[in-house]
């Protein structure tokens, strides 16, 4: 089975901190994604990457950046955490064209205080 591993299930950070969320997949997928999920707003795409060092903005990239130095790892960076970034963050990956579906990690619940 494909595994997408997110490094932390729960994180509590202070306002203004730089926060790193890590995601690793073990099936050589080209495409990787970061979503955030909020009650009433559903899942929204923050950034995605279709190859090493390649990235594109999603629907809500403000306040975030990403890094993909190796194919298996996609990091989401909150440059200066704010309380409105408190959310559930979900990483996903897929082969080109999504023929076998998209696999999601277990999620990171981030609280910014």
């Amino acid at each position: 089975d494909v595994k997408v591993t997110q490094s932390s299930r729960y994180l509590v950070k202070r306002t203004g901190e730089k926060v790193f969320l890590e995601c690793v997949q073990d099936m050589d997928h080209e495409n990787m994604f970061w979503y955030r999920q909020d009650p009433g707003l559903g899942l929204r795409l923050i950034y995605f990457s279709y190859d090493v060092k390649m990235k594109e903005k999603g629907d809500i990239p403000e306040g975030y950046s990403v890094s993909r130095e190796k194919k298996e790892r996609f990091s989401l960076i909150l440059e200066s955490a704010s309380t409105n970034q408190t959310s559930m963050y979900l990483c996903a990956s897929t082969f080109y064209e999504g023929l076998y579906g998209y696999t999601f990690g277990s999620g990171t619940r981030l609280t910014v205080v």
């Binding site: 495409n31 994604f33 559903g42 899942l43 795409l45 995605f48 279709y50 594109e56 999603g58 979900l90 996903a92 897929t94 080109y96 064209e97 999504g98 023929l99 076998y100 579906g101 998209y102 696999t103 999601f104 990690g105 277990s106 999620g107 619940r109």
Partner: protein, 114 residues
Amino acid sequence: ELKVEQNPLFLSMQEGKNYTIYCNYSTTSDRLYWYRQDPGKSLESLFVLLSNGAVKQEGRLMASLDTKARLSTLHITAAVHDLSATYFCAVPPRSPGSNYKLTFGKGTLLTVNP
């Protein structure tokens, strides 16, 4: 812009009953995905529908895709309490450069009562 609409958003069922969740989307796509999410958990893949007319079944759940009508259905047969969860459909656009970004419906919160 691709829009994905699910209905109903809330569904309370009795055990043993049947019901259907609908997923409509606004632009051309030839595939659709269904996910299940339990409270506080991540998304679990249920079905990958890759072509017009695709039908897949797993246990009490059956999903179908009509790309011409831009409609997918998730049919629940003889519901049991264990099916209580939130169900999402997700669609990637078929446009150049889309790189298969998924757009999700708002989700259907299903509660199955004894």
